[in-house]
């Protein structure tokens, strides 16, 4: 019991620190891609910027609009935060020599558990936007709910292909099944679908219609300020990290070294792959414009879903024939 608590505390510290520096990393990368220096005033190379941001958020006034539903308004950021962190209880980051994973809980239903928790995460956005009691958050929330439900379907279908090839729902088992070939190769289509739906699930550019600044002020979190806004913000970045971890575990071989290059320990490869995926995310944000809403829905239902189903049927046929 105590060991689990200590492990959880350490992991929480690691995830929060990663979040803080992912934010700085993103701003630096955006600056680099837009030919400007990015944050560089607080500490050397702006390294203390996350601390300054945190202090600012904590000291800000916590506002609740008169028209808001006080209970749900306060509950929503917690749901977001809770579901964002809960998945780290089961994500394995590496393996010992005897094959036991480096994770707090070694759950055999790992991937299903992940899907269950992330499907609860939508409530933070939809309840928060609704309970704010004003127009822009409501629009953002309704959009966000529709978008996340639509893209979750294709995302789950892209998982099933991997599940069938690996023959297990355990995250460790899935990584072990990729010892020779990463699932990126037999599941190339599944991987592409996963990457697209993952960006949509975390509401990042080019799918950030939930908080489209130019049309919805701030979207679902317009009315939130201080640490309540901060909770949504942390949840968004932690979800990005989660999505990168899942991509690494399911498609990029987890902690398996590529081409037998075992000069780094497993955890090193894992961190590198997650970092590369995070960079890809930020690159997308600097490059792509936002989708129009009707095109987003058409794309999700008429392109991604049929493709994901096709991928599923093809994989099932392949598995059945071998």
């Amino acid at each position: 019991m105590l060991i689990v608590l200590v492990k959880s505390a350490v992991l929480l510290a690691v995830v929060v620190t990663t979040f803080a520096y992912a934010m700085l990393f993103e701003r630096k990368i955006l600056g680099w891609m837009q030919l400007r220096p990015g944050p560089n005033r607080v500490g050397p190379w702006g390294l203390l910027q996350p601390a300054a941001d945190a202090a600012k958020l904590i000291l800000k006034e916590d506002l609740t609009p008169k028209t808001a539903d006080p209970l749900i308004y306060r509950l929503a950021p917690f749901i977001s935060l809770l579901t964002a962190f809960a998945v780290y209880a089961i994500i394995p980051f590496g393996a010992n020599g005897d094959g036991s994973p480096w994770a707090i809980g070694n759950v055999n239903a790992g991937i299903l558990f992940l899907m269950a928790i992330s499907s609860i995460g939508v409530y933070g956005i939809s309840l928060g936007g609704w309970a704010s009691g004003s127009k822009f958050p409501l629009l953002g929330a309704v959009r966000g709910t529709a978008q996340m439900i639509s893209y979750e379907l294709s995302m789950s279908l892209s998982f099933v292909g991997v599940l069938m090839l690996a023959g297990t729902t355990s995250l460790t088992g899935i990584v072990n099944a990729q010892e020779r070939v990463w699932f990126l190769i037999p599941q190339a289509l599944g991987f592409i679908i996963y990457v697209i739906t993952a960006v949509a699930e975390t509401n990042r550019t080019p799918f950030d219609l939930v908080e489209a600044e130019t049309e919805l002020v701030g979207g679902f979190h317009t009315e939130y300020s201080g640490l309540r806004f901060g909770s949504f913000f942390i949840a968004e970045y932690v979800n990005m990290l989660t999505i990168s971890c899942i991509a690494t575990l399911l498609f990029l071989g987890g902690w398996n070294a590529p081409f037998g290059l075992t000069l780094l320990p497993g955890i090193g490869w894992f961190v590198l792959k997650v970092g590369a995926f995070m960079f890809f995310y930020m690159w997308l944000r600097a490059t792509l414009p936002r989708f129009r809403y009707d095109r987003l829905m058409t794309f999700g239902w008429k392109v991604l879903l049929p493709l994901a189903t096709l991928n599923l049927v093809a994989t099932a046929a392949w598995v059945a024939l071998h």
């Binding site: 055999n108 899907m115 939809s126």
Partner: protein
């Protein structure tokens, strides 16, 4: 046994809150809590796959649609005030009695020796391959081999329900283009005004 009693209290309280809450969104939140507690009950019964599916399907998809509909239709925060006095006392009392009888039977049954082989050693431990009770393989075999007919009949009943909803709530008049419909209603209105005039 202690986790079961805690969960049981959460289940009953959240269920009561769901039906008594004055704001629809509170009903949704308490139903969310209820589903979570129900999933935990499944976990206690070692039906791991069912527990995860309960969360994914009911909390993640169906209840989400409720929130969506409430956000779309009832965007105001105002609670529902009408219809509170209309709770039928006699049927409610009968239902409560039936529920108590059911719980009593369930408790009596719980003291009977277990008929289910419990093979997994940890919660969420047995999901995966292999035909352990509550595993995906076990679940799939039950659903598609030994219980295929009841499964299909349930699907058919649901289908009938969907058709029934369309019949009850849907507009079954033949499709008329918007412009022509507007013309028709304008003409009807004009005629009504003329008749009133006479």
């Amino acid at each position: 046994m202690i986790p079961f009693w805690i969960i049981a209290v959460v289940l009953i309280v959240s269920a009561l809150w769901t039906v008594t809450a004055r704001k629809p969104i509170y009903s949704v939140v308490s139903l969310l809590l209820n589903f979570a507690a129900l999933a935990t009950t499944y976990l206690i019964l070692h039906a791991e796959f069912l527990a995860v599916m309960q969360i994914i399907v009911y909390s993640g998809a169906i209840l989400m649609l409720f929130v969506f509909v409430i956000a779309l239709l009832n965007s105001g925060i105002a609670p529902i005030v009408l219809g509170r006095d209309r709770v039928p006392v006699a049927p409610a009392a009968a239902a409560a009695l039936a529920a108590i009888a059911f719980v009593a039977t369930a408790i009596a049954a719980a003291h009977a020796p277990a008929i289910v082989p419990i093979a997994s050693h940890s919660p969420l431990g047995a999901v995966g391959r292999g035909n352990v009770f509550g595993s995906i393989g076990d679940f799939g075999q039950a659903l598609f081999l030994s219980r295929l007919l009841p499964f299909e009949i349930t699907a058919l009943i649901l289908m009938v329900a969907v058709v029934g909803v369309v019949l009850l709530a849907g507009d079954l008049t033949p499709y008329v283009p918007t412009r022509r419909r507007a013309e028709q209603s304008r003409r009807a209105l004009r005629e009504a005004i003329l008749r009133e005039g006479k």
